[in-house]
């Protein structure tokens, strides 16, 4: 199954399960969880069912394009459902079946893996799903987001589509993955991995990034004061990415790391509280739908 077909199959499957399709959020982020479609929408009592692809940037994971499994920019296929349905495990396993994975031919396991995103003040409980020993999905029941307890609880499914596709296509290098019938992942993205790895590790301007971090933080605070949590959240995401780049340049000491994570978390918490308060003022409109 080619990469684009895998995405389309998951889209169709989750739409059939009542999710609406969303699109990638256009600010750099480390994971699909950080998209407002998950981070903000998991807050409060309003029901929510969404599926989307989120390109994810993790500068320190770059390997100059040469490691067959590691990329500094890759995709996450994200599903968020609130409240978590009682049969969600079976529904999830159904998504593997439509991808052509005959469950009885494989070793499927739910291996404990509790999840935590310190910069988002978020924690969850769940598993890594193993397919023949390989982690293919992170399966999480959110317990807390932005420091706020989740009620009801959302369930988040995060697929690694590259891993799944490599498995389904039986290739051992991301570059050999067929993206479509006539072009490979490598042909599309190898050069990008090379250049971004070099930029992330070797050339990014540390001083500029430090200034950007400070500026983004100031702007986030000002925007929170203006009671505009949605735009403020954009600047929280920008802070986070600036921090990740500083990290990949080796410019963050352990103490600084802790301190910067706390600063970002504090912003995320304020955005979450403000967003939730405003939804409440609006009478939680999606409860009416």
């Amino acid at each position: 199954m080619v990469f684009e077909k895998l995405i389309a199959t998951l889209d169709n499957y989750w739409v059939a399960q009542g999710c609406h399709l969303s699109y990638p959020y256009e600010i750099e982020m480390g994971a699909g969880t950080m998209s407002p479609d998950t981070f903000l929408r998991s807050l409060g009592p309003e029901p929510w069912r969404v599926a989307y692809v989120q390109p994810s940037r993790r500068p320190t994971d770059g390997r100059y394009g040469e490691n067959p499994y590691r990329l500094q920019r890759y995709f996450q296929y994200q599903v968020l459902i609130k409240p978590s349905p009682d049969d969600i495990q079976e529904v999830y396993l159904g998504s593997l079946t439509v991808l052509g994975i005959e469950l009885q031919d494989h070793d499927i396991r739910f291996v404990e893996d509790d999840w935590e995103a310190p910069t988002l003040g978020a924690t969850g409980v769940g598993w890594e799903v193993w397919l023949d020993g390989m982690e293919i999905t992170q399966f999480t029941y959110f317990q807390q987001v932005g420091g706020i307890p989740c009620k009801p609880v959302s369930v988040e499914l995060t697929y690694g589509p590259e891993r799944l596709a490599m498995y389904l296509q039986d290739v051992d290098d991301y570059r050999e993955l067929m993206w479509s019938d006539d072009i490979t992942y490598g042909e599309l993205r190898y050069q990008e991995e090379q250049q971004f790895s070099e930029y992330n590790f070797d050339t990014a301007d540390v001083q500029m990034l430090q200034q950007l971090f400070e500026m983004y933080e100031r702007e986030a605070k000002a925007t929170i004061r203006a009671e505009l949590p949605l735009p403020a959240y954009d600047y929280v995401l920008k802070c986070s990415h600036a921090f990740n780049l500083l990290d990949s340049r080796g410019a963050v000491s352990v103490t600084e790391r802790h301190e910067m994570i706390l600063r970002i978390r504090d912003l995320a918490r304020q955005v979450a509280e403000l967003y939730l308060a405003q939804r409440e003022e609006l009478g939680f409109p999606l409860l009416q739908v």
Partner: protein, 706 residues
């Protein structure tokens, strides 16, 4: 007539390490609850998989036995008037117990005459009594971590999805977390039917087995070991099964099928520790060894798949294991490109504890500490001093390598440092000391074998403890975190195991003085920290002794007199324990001899300067006791002056004082009114008490009943 109970809690996969503790709680809770309701079961067994906690209780009475309750009412005087007619008090009491006034009786008690009534309570059917018990025990199960799901408020290890509750063939009326109990269980996710209708508790295991679930975890463990052995034998090896990994994988599967995978032999060039860690830590697989004990390019994984899927599954596993080995190989090559010592600079950027500087500074302290320890213990080997100092400098460098930075390989800290020290051309003893300086990390792990490793182990741990106590990061006493207790226990084990005589209080002070002045305000003063830390150690010393079979009272007795030299204190504790074991009579005599002088002199808070004045003696027994005491003092002195003190000989000398002490108390009245005489007599007894205190505080010992 009796009935059998089947109770199965169906869950989404709960963490492997939570299953056994939950089963133990379930068994204990239900067994207790049944007994409390007079429905004791003849036998109880439990079964656990990742998706189910199950219990079968056989031989439960079908009904509770009838019982009679007796209740005390008001005093007879106020319950009946002079004519013997009931008053409102009697009527009210009868009503509250649901009986007629005529059933009340009057009985004499120690406090006078009271109204009593006996109420017959018919036993309830087990089917009605048991459901609330199951519910309560289930909700009271504790897990390392709990969660909420959906829009429910209940917390459990993972979402609760089904319940089977059968008494014989009858479904019990029970609901928990919106789930109603039924007779429908679930089969294996891919090898069985989704719904399995359970007919009775006796059919439970067989019906699940027919649906791909081996519910009995003991049975699964046997299957895993048997299959792993067979697969390894096929390639002429045997599996290296870590018991922790075995338990973990056992509770990750409902039907174990082992597969054997292999990898390219070149990965065998990786250090064995790394290879094993990759297989066990990342993939929870068993390494395979050849008959010579060397690792082979094979591994055994425990899967939850059907046997027919083995080929596909094996390929999948190999595809996962190889990149992990690749990572490790990459780390190793990358890390060893630079000398270990060159990483010292990076340690400056790693905080040790907030307010206690960075790791580079810590290694500088460690170098000073091992140097100090070398001198303090009086070790002769000067080359070892240099080795320990070098190892101290290098021992934290591996924390900033890629290998240890990989969270799944982080447990290799120290070991990796040793490997990299060797690869960097450091002398072998330095590499060895670095490798073993975290040991012992628990009661099962032995202390470092090399003297330099032993010094460094103590230095590292005392520095951690001193910093945490100075920063007041730890609640003291039994609430102290296990990690801190292990650190102190580790030091005690090294001191006792290597017989390093030194004064603990001096080590504590020196370690505290080396620390930077903490910047934040909430700290203990150096003296407070030293006192609390010393107290903390007393608990660890006692635990170490109790582990060696020394009784609680002997521990307290030895810790009741100065125990700063733990080696010496341990010898005293062992000597008393041995004597108690070998010659209980002699032990009792020693204790009795020691406690009488202590009992009479200690409450008097005598001045230290008090001397015995023989001119004040009135009885010959006084002269005799002084002579015996002097002789005993000389014997004790002789026995304890050697490098290896002879505590049994000292104990024998003390015991010889028993008769003169007894005689003394027969003949001499100590607490006389004449103060000079009284103080003089107390002075003599006080000297005896001091001599006994060279061994222990005998007041703390509970003499064995002879």
């Amino acid at each position: 007539m009796s009935a059998d109970l089947l109770y199965e809690i169906g869950v989404e996969e709960i963490p492997a390490n939570a299953v056994l503790p939950a089963l133990e709680q379930l068994e204990a809770g239900i067994s207790q609850a049944l007994a409390d309701c007079r429905l004791e079961a003849a036998s109880i067994s439990t079964y656990g998989t990742p998706r189910r906690l199950a219990l079968i209780a056989e031989g439960i009475p079908e009904r509770q036995p009838d019982s009679v309750g007796e209740y005390k009412g008001p005093p007879a005087q106020s319950a009946f008037d002079e004519q013997g007619n009931p008053t409102p008090a009697a009527e009210g009491f009868a009503r509250s117990r649901g009986v007629a006034v005529s059933e009340l009786e009057i009985r004499e008690t120690e406090k006078g005459r009271f109204v009593f009534v006996q109420v017959k309570r018919p036993g309830q059917p087990a089917a009605e009594v048991i459901p609330p018990l199951l519910r309560q025990v289930t909700l009271e199960l504790t897990f390392p971590k709990t969660m909420r799901w959906g829009d429910r408020d209940i917390e459990f290890a993972r979402p609760l999805r089904w319940l089977v509750a059968l008494l014989d063939d009858q479904v019990l009326d029970l609901e928990i977390a919106g789930v109603r109990a039924d007779r429908i269980s679930r089969g294996h996710r891919v090898m069985g039917e989704k719904m399995v209708e359970i007919s009775s508790s006796s059919a439970y295991l067989a019906q699940l087995a027919a649906n791909g679930v081996v519910a009995d975890h003991r049975e699964r463990e046997k299957m895993i070991v048997e299959q792993a052995n067979r697969l390894a034998e096929e390639v002429g090896g045997h599996p290296r099964i870590d018991s922790g990994i075995l338990t973990e994988v056992n509770f990750l599967v409902e039907h174990p099928t082992c597969i054997r995978g292999s990898f390219a032999p070149r990965y065998l060039e990786l250090p064995a520790e790394v290879l094993v860690s990759v297989l066990e830590g990342h993939q929870k697989a068993f390494p395979v060894e050849n008959p010579a004990g060397e690792l082979m390019a094979e591994f055994i994984a425990v899967t939850n798949a059907a046997a027919g899927a083995a080929d596909v599954v094996r390929q999948g596993w190999e595809r996962v294991v190889v990149p992990r080995l690749d990572d490790a190989e990459f780390y190793y090559q990358h890390d060893t490109r630079q000398a270990l010592v060159s990483r010292l600079e990076s340690l400056k950027r790693v905080t040790f504890l907030k307010g206690m500087g960075n790791l580079y500074e810590k290694t500088q302290r460690l170098a000073k500490l091992v140097d100090w320890l070398h001198g303090e213990i009086g070790l002769a080997d000067e080359a070892m001093r240099t080795t320990a100092q070098r190892a101290a400098t290098l021992c934290k460098c591996d924390l900033v390598t890629m290998m240890v930075g990989d969270s799944k390989l982080a447990a290799l800290q120290g070991i990796i440092g040793g490997l990299y020290a060797r690869a960097s051309g450091e002398p072998e003893p330095v590499a060895e000391a670095v490798a073993e300086h975290y040991r012992p990390q628990g009661p099962e792990e032995s202390i470092p074998t090399s003297p330099a490793g032993q010094l460094l182990s103590m230095a590292d741990k005392i520095d951690n403890l001193a910093a945490c106590f100075r920063l007041e990061l730890i609640p003291t006493g039994s609430a102290a975190p296990p990690a801190l207790r292990r650190q102190a226990a580790g030091i005690v084990e090294v001191i006792v195991g290597a017989e390093y005589s030194l004064r603990l209080s001096r080590l504590i002070h020196y370690a505290l003085e080396l620390l930077p002045l903490p910047a934040n305000e909430k700290t203990l003063s150096l003296e407070q920290a030293a006192t609390e830390l010393q107290e903390f150690f007393a608990g660890r010393v006692q635990a170490a002794w109790e582990q060696r079979g020394i009784s609680y009272d002997i521990c307290r007795a030895v810790l009741g007199v100065p125990w700063d030299d733990i080696v010496d204190a341990t010898r005293r504790a062992m000597c008393l324990a041995d004597l108690k074991q070998a010659d209980p009579e002699a032990f009792t005599e020693l204790v009795v001899a020691g406690e009488r002088p202590a009992r009479i002199t200690r409450p008097e808070s005598l001045p230290d300067t008090l001397k015995v004045d023989t001119s004040l003696f009135e009885h010959p027994t006084e002269t005799l006791l002084l002579a015996e005491l002097t002789a005993a003092q000389q014997k004790v002195q002789a026995a304890l002056s050697d490098e290896e003190p002879d505590y049994p000989a000292a104990g024998e000398a003390l015991r010889s004082l028993l008769t003169p002490i007894h005689q003394y108390f027969e003949d001499v009245m100590v607490m006389v009114d004449d103060e000079r005489l009284r103080l003089n007599r107390l002075a003599l007894l006080s000297q005896i008490d001091q001599l006994f205190s060279r061994l222990a505080d005998f007041l703390q010992i509970v003499p064995p009943v002879s």
